[in-house]
Each structure stands twice: as C-alpha cells, then as structure tokens.
C-alpha cells in the first residue's frame, strides 16, 4: 500500500471542503429540548407553466379575497387566512431572448436571472433559490433538497439558441449544473423512507460503503483531469451524486443510531409527543394525473413532516406540451393558452389552472391539518405555487401569478391580498429566503429590495 498517496488523498479531501461528517447534533435536536426549541422553516415550490387567465385568478379587491375569492383559488378557501397573494411582482425581462419565452419562464423562475447570452448553447445561468437554501440547511437532513417533476425533463427545442435544459429545469446547483428531478413516486418513496413506506425504516446502510465511495471519488478525480471540458461537467454530476450518496449513508447511520438510543430510552426523539404521526403515502395504480400529482404532494408533505429535507421543488408540468386528458382535453396546454380570447379556450386554460391549484391546495391543506410543535406543519412552511408567466396568450410577465401558503414559522403575514405590490421576481425570492432564515450575502438575480410588506 502506498501510504503517501493515501495521506495525500485525505488531506486533499479536507482541502476541498467536502464535509463528510455531518453537523447533525446541533440541528436535529430542534424539538428535543421541549417548547423552547422551534421547528425549522421549510420551503417548497410548485410550478405550472404558461400563466393564467388573469380575471379568474386575481381577487377583485383585498376584501373580495375573503368574501368572494376567484374561481381559480376556490379550493384554498378553507385556509385563505394562511395564504398570501400579491399582485405586481414582475418577472425577469427576457429581451435578448424574445424568441424563447417558455424556456425562460421556467429557468428564470427560481433564479431571477437570464442565461448568459454568449454561452447560451450550454447551461450557464445562476444558482436557484431552492439550492441556495439547500446549501444552507441541507447538511441537517437526510436529503439536502427534494426535486420532483410530473414529466420527464426533456424537450427537443432550443429556440433562440438556448440549451434545451432551460425548458425543463428550474433548479440549478450552480450556474452550469441543473438538478435533475425525480418523476417516479415509487422510487422517491423507497429512497426517502425505505421499502415499507414508513418514515425511519430505511434500506441498509453499510458504513464501509461510505469509505469505499470516498476512495472511488478520489479515483474519479484523476480520471476527470484527462477529459475534455464538457465531459468534465458530466463527471462532475457523477461526483456530486456519489457525494450525495455518501452523505445519505452518513445520515442513515445517524438515524439508526438515534433510533437505537431512543429505543434504549436514553434520549427523547426530535419529535414532540403531540405531533401528528407521519402520513401514509399510497402509490396510485392508474395513470390519473390528479392522483399522480397528489402522491408527489404527499411525498413532499411526508419529507417535510419527518424532517427528511427542508427544501422541495415540484415541477407540476414543464412548458413542453402536456395535455390534460383527465379534464377531457386532448389538446396541449400551451396551444390553448394562445387563446386569442376565444371563449372555449379561455375556459380550458382556466380549468387547467384550477386543476393545478387544486393539487397545491390538496398539499397545503394536508399540511394545515398536521400538528407540529405549537401549531400545524403549514405554520412552519413557506409553500409557493406559481407560474413564470402572467398571460400565456401574450407572454406577458408584469404580474406573475403566485400564491404563498404557510406562515414560515411566524415570519409571513398571511390572510391577505396585496393588490399593488412593487417588486420583481428576485425581490420575492430574496424575501422568501429571508423569511426562511437563510442569510444572503447578495441579492438573488435582479433583486433590488426585500418585499417587507409581506413580512410580519
């Protein structure tokens, strides 16, 4: 055995700052200490492309928000006091990419940044808000973040010369790396909670695997040096994913250790005794869109409830031509949004919007019904549903449609519709992260201010 190289590798790992030992102790004990410790804030996003029918989405007035909410948000009625709507948040102006409104509605949604024009045929944008939060709190949980999607993330178009990944990704780990989303609920369930679908029951973790993977990563870095630059990026994804696997094994070990201690009565669990038990998740058999989306929502709820992750992103559909057979529409969502104000198509777009918000409502209402700490799970979450486009017919982006549910651990002043907010997408994301307790060293994308009026 070559001892020198072995020592070098360990030193190297430290130098690179790959944290393999995880700082669990201080962070996971949030509920263990009794009432003084507060549950962490979780942040979740859910996306629908192509915008909405404005008249059926925005409340007529702050009063009407409660008294006669528009049809689109009807399903949220029971918890409107825990929601917040703000009109006047504008999207990123897409001027140099006028020919690619749909690639940009999704890719700018959580970045508030335009792709780099000179390198547009590659991915080069900015780290997204969810991943900024994952960097900050991700080390505390089994998974740094959860990314889900309804559709496979592929689309064979690169309008305005943009890389096609911009059509199907909103999460970016770094300016040049997309975060792929999972689309198979069964795999996600197994991954999060083991085969039995119960929290805490995880697949076996072999501590030696972690050391083994560490060495494999070292070897992979040698290989990386021999590759062309584009191939290095591919290998970087491999390295990141293997690192995530290492972390996960470490987290599983920690969890097993904790379960053993708990069983021995040595210390209390991190859950309050009066917290609701973890929800049950059933994988639907058929291919009904609503059932599919609801199981993805359930997985998000369960992941948050069990503190498996604190950040989630669910791309309810990508801007690439999905249809809604469940609503009786065989035409594509996108084409219908170019309705030219024709009644029949306007009706369809409104129905699709309502359908998507209904699934979001299913998720946040469930969260509102689950006890956590002194309140509900939703009280400690910030859940945002929205679209990166205002009106799909005109491709306008002046008033991005979105709904926030949850009080963010008491940071968000809910139960209101603010009809005349001034701000942009970057301002909104910056404020959301601030509410989630994430300190930022710089504003996100085009942000210039925080939207203080949404805070308590």
């Amino acid at each position: 055995m070559n001892y020198r190289s072995r020592v070098d590798r360990r030193t190297l790992l430290k130098g690179v700052g790959v944290s393999l030992a995880l700082p669990f102790m201080d962070s996971l004990s949030w509920a263990a200490g009794g009432n003084s410790a507060r549950p962490p804030v979780r942040l979740g996003f859910m996306y629908m492309p192509h915008g909405v029918i404005m008249d059926e989405f925005w409340p007529k007035s702050p009063e009407a928000y409660h008294k006669s909410p528009p049809a689109a948000i009807e399903s949220l009625r029971p918890i409107l006091d825990q929601c917040l709507m703000m009109k006047g948040i504008s999207g990123v102006p897409i001027a140099p990419f006028g020919g690619a409104p749909h690639a940009l509605e999704l890719s700018t949604w959580l970045t508030a940044t335009l792709p780099d024009a000179d390198t547009r045929s590659r991915v080069n944008i900015a780290i997204s808000a969810d991943q900024i939060m994952a960097n900050y709190v991700g080390a505390h949980t089994l998974l740094p973040s959860l990314e889900l999607a309804t559709m496979p993330q592929t689309w064979k178009e690169n309008q305005a010369g943009l890389h096609e990944a911009y059509y199907s990704h909103c999460s970016y780990r770094s300016p040049t790396q997309t975060v792929p989303a999972e689309i198979d609920p069964r795999l996600v369930l197994n991954r999060l909670f083991g085969k039995k679908g119960k929290a805490g029951l995880v697949t076996k973790a072999n501590p030696l695997d972690r050391q083994m993977l560490d060495r494999v990563l070292g070897g992979a870095r040698d290989l990386r040096r021999t590759l062309a630059r584009t191939d290095q990026l591919k290998l970087d994804e491999y390295l990141d994913s293997v690192r995530a696997t290492e972390r996960r094994i470490a987290a599983i070990e920690y969890r097993q250790q904790e379960a053993a201690l708990e069983k021995a009565g040595v210390r209390s669990t991190k859950r309050h005794s009066n917290d609701s038990p973890p929800i049950e998740v059933k994988i639907p058999e058929g291919d009904k869109r609503s059932e599919y989306m609801q199981v993805m929502c359930d997985l998000t709820v369960l992941a948050f409830q069990t503190d498996t992750t604190r950040v989630s992103t669910y791309i309810g559909s990508t801007p690439n031509g999905v249809s809604y057979p469940e609503l009786g529409f065989t035409d594509k969502h996108h084409s219908q949004t170019h309705h030219e104000n024709r009644k029949e198509q306007v009706r369809k777009v409104a129905a699709i919007t309502k359908f998507n918000i209904d699934q979001f409502a299913y998720m946040v209402k469930k969260m509102a019904s689950l006890r956590e700490g002194d309140g509900s799970l939703l009280d400690n979450c910030i859940m945002m549903w929205g679209s990166g486009m205002e009106d799909g017919n005109k491709h306008s982006r002046e008033n991005l449609p979105f709904i926030i549910a949850g009080k963010g651990g008491g940071s968000i002043n809910t139960g209101r519709f603010l009809p005349d907010t001034k701000g942009n997408q970057g301002d909104l994301l910056t404020t959301l992260l601030s509410c989630a307790g994430v300190p930022l060293d710089r504003p996100i994308g085009i942000a210039t201010r925080q939207i203080t009026e949404m805070k308590v």
Partner: protein
C-alpha cells in the same frame, strides 16, 4: 441533426485555430492525395467566403444577426471564424431559413433574389472546407439502462432485469447523460444485489462465477494484498473494458485495505473492492484510456476503446471474448479485421440492439408504446397492437441490414412483417392469422416501406387525428435530412384554431389556412403538401378514402423541388429515387449516434468521402454501417485542444 444518440451531450467542440498546423499528423490513416485535395478545396472555400459569403451576410443578415444575435443566430462571430465548429450550427440554421424564404423577413429593406439565395446556399456548402482536420474529442457517456443490464449479465451472469429498478431512460437529445443522486444510490444498491447473488457466504463454497472473478483463496501466510491486486487487475480489466492503470489499482487495493482494517475476511474484502469497481465512473461511463502517450493532438483510438465503442454500438453489450482477444492482440484496428468484426456482429441476432438504440430513434417510434391515443376514436390501440407495430418496424429494419439491401428499400419495398391484429390495419386479416409475426409480401404499392407503416404513421399523429404538418416535418427531417426551422414562438397549433368557424372544411382546407398567414406560409407550403400525400392513412395507419368529415381525400402534392405526386405510392416512388439524400441522411444520423455528438465542420468532409464509397456499392446499408465504423471519425479522437 435531430437524432443524436440517446443521453448524449450535444457538445460544441472546442476548436482552436492555433492548432491549425499541428493537426496534420502522420498517424492518420488518410492517403496524401486526400490531404492535398483538401488543401485546394480549402483555398477555394476561403476565396468564396471572402468574395461571396461575407458580402451577402453583411448586406442581408448582419443588422439583426450581428451582435444582437436575433434568434440565437450570431453571424458576426461566424464571419470572424467561419470554419470553427462553433460557427457551423449558425451557418446551417442561416441556410435553412434562407432556403425556405423565411429570412430575411418580408418587411426587410433588402431582399435577395432567388438566384442570390441559391448561390448563398451553395457557398455555405463549401464552408466545411475551412474546417480543420479534427475527429473531435471522445465523448464520454453513461451506459444506458439497457447497456448497464446487459453488461452485468455478460460479465457476471446475473439476469439483466437486475437493473429494472433504474428509472427509464428518456429518449432525447441533450445533456441526459447525467447521473442523479437517486441513480447513484440505485447503482450502489444494484451492486450490492449483484455481489449478494454471486459471492456466497464465508462458510459456504464459492459459486462458479465467484471462482472466476476472485480465483483461489491464497493459503495462510500468503501476501493477501498482492493477491488482491491481481484480482483487482482482472476485475477492472473486464469492467473498465481496458487494462486498468496502476493508479487505478492503487485505489482498488486501498479499498481492500479499508475492509481488512475493519476486520472483514479476505472474501468480503474482495467483495467491497468489487463493489467499488461497479460504482466507478470507469464502469458506468464509456471512457477513453487515462494515459495518452503521444505528442500528437489527434490519436487513433486504442483497440480496447475501439472494441468497446463497436460493441455498444451494434450490440449494446461489452466486447465479447472474440473482440476482447483481438483488442489484446492489438489487431482490431486493422481495417480488414475491423470490417470482418462489423460483419460478424451485424449478422448476429444481438444486433437487434441497433434498432432498439438507433433505428427506433431515427424513425421516431421510440415513444409509441406510451403515446396517448383517444380511446373513443381508436379503441384498438392496445399495448399488444402497439408492440406489434414496433416489432414490424424492427423486423423490417433488421431485414434490410441483414440482407444488405440498398438504403432506398427503407422507403420502397414490397414486403413487411405482420401478425393478425396488425394485418387488420392493412386489411389483410384474411391471409394472416395468429399472433406470430411473419414476413408478408405486399401487393398494394401504397404500402411497403416506412412511409406506409403503422408505427411511423401513428407516431406522427395526434391522439385523435392525423397531422399533415408532423408527417411533412418527419419526411423532410428523418428521411431526407432537411433542416426545418422551428415555428415562431407565438403561433397556436392548428387544432386550437377555433373549431366552429372551420367546420365543414377538410383538414387540408383548414391546414391551408396556415398558409394564408405570412409568418407560417413559407415553411408550411413546403411541409404540408408532403403530409397531405399521406392523408389516406389515418392516425393509426389504416387506409381510408374519406376523412373524418366524410370528404374524399385529395392526396396530391409536391416535394420542395417541385416534383408532384398524386398518391402515397407516387410519393414513395419520388422519395425512393432520392438515393443520395436518403443515404447521406442515414449516414449522418448513424455517425452522430455512433460518436454521441452532433456533426460539425470537418465531419462533413469525412461524410462526403464516405458517400463516394457508399455510392459505389449501390448504397447498401451494411456497407454504409461498415464505412461509418471504419471512418476516421469513429477510429480517432482529439486529445489536445
């Protein structure tokens, strides 16, 4: 170029002009006269560029496609470095738009004459000669789910279904080569399963496969680390598809050490080491050799890489014993040896992988099984029928390869493969009985070939009706290899145009409304007539005389070059005569698939040379495949620059 290999990055090659002089190196298998010829062609191209292309672009294009780079087409940088690979796509797109009169836009101040347009297109055709001689980097890619399962099976005797838990691969161009954290966990999980199946518990006798992998357990007192290094060497040789480097062995033996330090027995320690092999990038990706002992910027692939590239291309498996032995002996790169191996692999039944991987992508039928069809309109589109449709396409593709038929037979042939349910779509259910697929001679000239085949007709349709536009695009792009500019972003699809006011119009009349819209007309007057030529086939490929509205179908139309036709059979005949276009398109698509990247710049010159040879052998398909595999591009790679 649409049909790049599944999961491939479409990488822009980084070409440095500084390399210009060093690129012509003696190691390349090209005769001198070819190179001399290239030099004169390059001089001519430079002249053409300076005198013709530059002025045209400056006059008609640069206002919008300069620094502003409207629609992502930047001709300013393309003018600066016309031969660079990065400029190539800009030229191609520009040409496509100028060709169909889509650009310059009608409202532009200066509009080129038709003659100027034709000349521009011809000039652009010469630009490839400005490109430097360059086979491109070796593009690494992850093994697909199918390849991964096959590899575990071939090397370790486990059932390929052991990979079933991996997510389905998404077919498409793009960066989809990635490994998500979930996949990474599954690779580890599957590695555990493989080891559990193969390695017996410590107190039981070893399995046969285990003996083959781990050898005999060394006697007491022997140097276990030395033995482990030997095991690592042979494990890695198979799994990495090449001999491992000493540094790679250091890593593996280091993992053996970790296991020993944690009091694992010899057998279990080898198990951990093997697991490391199975989750290593050298196993999961097809990668080039780590060390290149050369001062040249372009080197031939070594025989191991060649064996691996060849085997995954034609069989989706790691190299078998014969290929591996030829690689060990350093003989595979010899042209006659390589040709013989291509022949052997293609004639073996495992070459069906070429249809599953390449053929189904080329024809665009990969998604047929999961495609949505309106169950009220097409209740017969069961999974069984869809599978039969796919099987028909596969058997037909394979028969053309096996029998080494000419490429035009893809379009114009007089046989197909049917079972009874599929024969119903052909109206041949009287003569074809039972669920088994068999070869059937076709008397109807409208059938026979990929144009009149249910699988392709269905995948180019909407859930409830046909689409002349999609079929037109399919014929132009997949069969003739034309580049069709994308529709402008704000245009609704035809189906969304208000239905009521259009009632009573035939699909043709409705689609022709498209052509009255100036932004649409330029392209649609090319696309639509081809699609209408196939209107006699409904959305699942049945023959019909009248459309859904009960109106008699008018399937007359013409191709972009003006040749007209009045039935699908005539359309078929016209397309089959365009052997050069058909063959070139298929060659380009096959090459892109084989290399795992888009074709650019210099690639075109290589394709030109291949086309000469392929034409000499009457465009036979197996000849074409062999030429692709023995080409400079397939057998070389750039290592510097």
């Amino acid at each position: 170029m649409r049909s790049s290999r599944v999961f491939q990055i479409v990488a822009a090659k980084v070409t440095g002009l500084a390399l210009a002089l060093s690129l012509i190196s003696p190691c390349q298998a090209q005769p001198d006269d070819v190179i001399a010829d290239e030099a004169s062609l390059r001089a001519d191209a430079e002249k053409t560029f300076k005198e013709k292309v530059g002025p045209f672009v400056n006059k008609y294009c640069i206002n919008c496609h300069g620094p502003r780079a409207e629609a992502g087409i930047n001709l300013k940088s393309a003018l600066r470095i016309p031969g660079a690979a990065s400029s190539f796509l800009h030229w191609k797109k520009a040409m496509a738009n100028v060709k169909v009169h889509d650009m310059p836009p009608d409202h532009a101040e200066k509009i080129p004459t038709d003659k100027e347009r034709r000349q521009f297109i011809e000039w652009i055709g010469k630009l490839k000669y400005l490109a430097q001689r360059d086979p491109g980097h070796f593009v690494i890619r992850r093994l697909s789910k199918v390849e991964y399962g096959n590899t575990l099976h071939d090397l370790y005797g486990v059932d390929p279904s052991i990979a079933d838990s991996l997510p389905e691969e998404v077919v498409g161009e793009g960066y989809l080569n990635s490994i998500s954290p979930l996949q990474s966990e599954l690779f580890l999980d599957i590695a555990n399963k493989v080891i559990d199946q193969v390695v017996s518990p410590t107190d039981e006798p070893p399995t046969e496969v285990q003996k083959g992998l781990f050898g005999e357990t060394p006697p007491n007192g022997a140097d276990l680390r030395k033995a482990a290094r030997q095991v690592a060497r042979s494990l890695a040789r198979d799994a990495y598809r090449r001999p491992p480097t000493e540094a790679e062995l250091d890593v593996l033996v280091g993992i053996f050490d970790i296991a020993r330090e944690n009091d694992l027995g010899y057998r279990s320690s080898l198990g951990l080491m093997w697991k490391a092999v199975l989750v290593s990038p050298q196993f999961l990706f097809s990668t080039p050799a780590v060390d290149v002992d050369s001062k040249d910027s372009v080197v031939p692939l070594d025989d191991y890489q060649l064996a691996s590239r060849l085997s995954y291309l034609l069989w989706s498996t790691p190299p078998d014993a014969e290929l591996s032995a030829l690689a060990e002996k350093g003989e595979l790169h010899k042209p006659e040896v390589l040709r013989a191996q291509v022949e052997r692999l293609l004639m073996h039944d495992r070459s069906r992988a070429l249809f599953d991987g390449f053929g189904s992508q080329w024809l665009g039928v990969g998604g047929l099984e999961s495609q949505t069809f309106d169950p009220d309109v097409f209740p017969q589109m069961t999974l069984a029928l869809r599978k039969a449709m796919m099987e028909e396409a596969r058997l037909f593709f394979q028969s053309i390869v096996r029998e080494n038929q000419s490429v035009f037979r893809f379009v114009d042939s007089d046989y197909t493969f049917l079972n009874e349910p599929l024969a119903e779509l052909y109206g041949l259910e009287q003569s074809v009985k039972g669920p088994t697929m068999r070869r059937v001679k076709l008397e109807n000239p409208n059938r026979g070939g990929i144009l009149g085949m249910p699988a392709t007709l269905a995948t180019t349709s909407f859930p409830n009706r046909t689409s002349a536009v999609r079929r037109g695009v399919w014929v132009l792009e997949q069969i003739l290899g034309e580049r069709v500019p994308p529709p402008p972003p704000n245009v609704p699809e035809l189906e969304e145009q208000e239905q009521q006011s259009k009632e009573g119009l035939t699909l043709r009349q409705r689609t022709e409304l498209h052509q009255s819209e100036p932004t649409c007309a330029n392209c649609h007057k090319l696309l639509d007539p081809i699609g209408f030529g196939l209107e006699n086939f409904d959305a699942i490929g049945r023959w019909r005389e009248k459309d859904d509205a009960g109106v008699v179908i008018d399937s007359a139309g013409k191709l972009p070059d003006g040749e007209s036709f009045s039935t699908p059979a005539e359309l078929k005949g016209l397309l089959a005569r365009r052997k050069t276009d058909l063959a070139r398109n298929l060659t380009e698509k096959m090459m892109a698939y084989a290399l795992g990247r888009q074709l650019e710049g210099y690639d075109e010159i290589v394709i030109d040379q291949l086309m000469v040879k392929i034409a000499q052998d009457k465009y036979r398909v197996r000849t074409m495949i062999t030429e692709v595999i023995t080409s400079y591009l397939f057998t070389h790679r750039k290592v510097k620059g």
